[in-house]
């Protein structure tokens, strides 16, 4: 991918191994031909799957740049007869895209930062402080990940109304800071459980109290893990659907994905406009994906295995 072009060291099989392989293969030519064929067959298979995965994206891009007439004449599969921005113009004139973008960025951004800070505080108590009953605390926090949002939504919905936060992005922010931080606590505390003890002791001997320990010693060392978590919280929150859909009713408060689903629900079936809208809705995540591809793949594994 584009982000990995610069100075990515291409790992080659070690030369001795290759030489060995070559000698063995020269001993049996038929086997070598079979192996070579098999190698390419496997690659072909993997590429076919990859193309299949990317096909919907291809459809999205090509149809977003078609005119409505072109679409109805030549169908969804043809390339645009003429690349046009008219579908984008129609979408942008029907919604306040800058407002939606601002809402999405605000929600995902505040949740990402707030979630990481909150998770770090509690993970510090659990992983470094080793408070009594920490296994249970983590277990209870994991309920936030396990419970279906449906089992929380109605009380949250009426609660937001009661405190005057209905239809406000802040209701969504507060909810997701806690939900994401609960998972983040689980992750960070298990990483902090293996924190080098000598470093903490040294700092304590120098008179650092717990707050100084957290802010000057632990946080700087944990920064890589925290930034992975930050990226993840951002993307997850950006993509959230159920709770924002319930909480944010008017277009002024909605996020980009919610506005897209609402557009689809109107049943006008302007396919090219829908494609353009979808493309604009995933563009920010796509940009994010290419910027942070490595972080993301590193993060998904950290999240799964730790």
């Amino acid at each position: 991918m584009t982000t990995t072009t610069a100075a990515a060291p291409v790992r080659r099989p070690d030369p001795a191994q290759r030489r060995n392989g070559r000698r063995r293969r020269s001993r049996d030519r038929r086997l070598s031909v079979a192996l070579l064929g098999q190698r390419w067959l496997v690659l072909l298979l993997a590429v076919v799957v990859g193309v299949g995965m990317l096909l919907p994206f291809y459809l999205l891009v090509t149809n977003a740049f078609k005119s409505g007439a072109d679409y109805s004449r030549r169908g969804p599969l043809a390339l645009p007869a003429e690349w046009t921005l008219s579908a984008f113009e129609r979408y942008l004139s029907s919604v306040d895209y800058p407002q939606l973008l601002a809402n999405s960025v605000l929600i995902a951004g505040v949740v990402a930062v707030g979630g990481v800070v909150l998770a770090m505080l509690s993970a510090y108590a659990l992983g470094i402080g080793r408070v009594r009953g920490r296994t249970w605390v983590v277990f209870v926090l994991l309920l936030a990940t396990i419970l279906p949002q449906e089992a929380l939504i109605y009380p949250l919905f009426s609660g937001a109304q009661a405190v005057g936060l209905q239809n406000s992005v802040w209701s969504v922010v507060i909810i997701f800071v806690v939900l994401q931080a609960a998972f983040g606590t689980y992750l960070l505390s298990s990483v902090l459980g293996t924190f080098p003890h000598e470093m903490l002791e040294a700092a304590r001997v120098d008179g650092a109290n717990r707050w100084v320990l957290l802010t000057r010693i632990v946080t700087p060392i944990m920064r890589p893990t925290m930034s992975v978590l930050l990226v993840f919280f951002f993307v997850w929150t950006w993509n959230e659907f159920f709770i924002p859909m319930i909480m944010l009713i008017t277009p002024k408060a909605q996020t980009i994905p919610i506005a897209l689903a609402a557009l689809k629900g109107q049943n006008t079936l302007d396919v090219t406009q829908l494609a353009a809208a979808s493309l604009l809705s995933l563009l920010p995540t796509l940009v994010f994906f290419f910027l942070f591809q490595r972080t993301l793949t590193r993060g998904v594994t950290a999240g799964a295995v730790k």
Binding site: M1, T4, V42, L45, A46, P148, V178, N209
Partner: protein
């Protein structure tokens, strides 16, 4: 242990004479505790409380009906059907993608990675992973158009291949659920691929070399080395994907709204509809509570089963 005050090496210019008690670590847990109580524990308890009432929501009168909502759920065919559908979705989200993803990860890692370079493997991995970062609303809108009967992309392909009786992918009760499953497999495959590929990096390469020298083919190595060594990771993928499948909501809302003939109902959609469309808050709360309990039991069961199989290995 941690409660002992740290020994002071250098005397500080002490503002107070008695040594200050350090802030307990529990204080650092306080913000999370408050937030968690307000956003998770209290709402869940209130949801359970609501489930004992007949209530249209808002300012409408709330009538205590005890377990009546639960009794009705037991006899509600749509509710049972929604749980039955969840089994299919677990297949589409947890089982099929994990099996395919495991094979793809192994092929990418020790076949393509070696023969064609790490770059080729990572480009393919990125292609598989891309659907995973899509907002679920975008994925839903995209697929509702691909699967559209009249001029959707899939049927356009079939038409150009000469198929005359085009399937009604989302409108036929017999196949609508399968259409959703198709989309979910597409959506999900990248997750096991990425997790399992990184798990494979932890397997000692010497094991493979030894097996190769002994003449073990790819399939043999896959079964004897790859799978056993990354079993924990496979298990984590299955567990998280199963929980995800049971909570699935957005694809159903966007693609079919539970139809046709309630053939694609899932439990979370059932609750949503009772809360916000049918104004049967108590009934929706009861179904949400049941779903929460079932998910809890399944998750707990899977964890218990895993713990036992780890024990048995020792």
């Amino acid at each position: 242990m941690t409660a002992t005050t740290p020994p002071r090496a250098r005397p500080r210019p002490a503002p107070a004479h008695r040594p200050r008690r350090p802030v307990s670590y529990w204080a650092y847990l306080l913000p999370m505790g408050v937030g968690f109580g307000l956003i998770v524990l209290v709402p869940f308890a209130v949801n359970v409380w609501y489930s004992f009432f007949s209530w249209k929501g808002g300012a409408a009168p709330r009538t205590w009906v005890g377990l009546e909502n639960y009794r009705e759920l037991l006899q509600d065919d749509v509710f049972w059907r929604s749980f039955g559908n969840t089994l299919y979705l677990i297949g589409a989200v947890a089982v099929v993608p994990t099996v395919i993803g495991l094979v793809l990860a192994a092929l990418l890692f020790d076949h393509i990675g070696r023969s064609f370079g790490a770059r080729a493997a990572s480009v393919l991995r990125a292609a598989y992973y891309l659907p995973q970062i899509l907002p679920i609303a975008v994925a839903g809108v995209l697929w509702s158009w691909i699967l559209e009967t009249r001029d959707g992309a899939l049927n356009s392909v079939l038409r150009s291949l000469g198929v005359t009786t085009l399937p009604d992918w989302l409108g036929d009760p017999g196949i609508a659920l399968w259409s959703i499953m198709l989309m979910l497999v597409w959506l999900q495959i990248g997750y096991p691929v990425v997790v399992l590929m990184s798990a494979l990096q932890r397997v000692d390469p010497e094991l493979y070399e030894a097996a190769e020298l002994d003449g073990a083919g790819w399939w043999r190595r896959f079964r004897a080395i790859t799978v056993p060594h990354i079993r924990t990771d496979i298990y984590v993928v299955v567990l998280t994907a199963t929980i995800g499948a049971m909570k699935l909501f957005a694809p159903v809302l966007i693609l079919t709204k539970g139809g046709p003939e309630s053939s694609t109902y899932v439990p979370s959609f059932f609750s949503y509809r009772n809360f916000f469309e049918l104004s049967r808050v108590g009934y929706g709360a009861a179904s949400a509570t049941v779903l929460a309990v079932v998910i809890g039991l399944v998750a707990g069961g899977l964890i218990f089963w895993q713990a036992r199989s780890v024990e048995a290995d020792r």
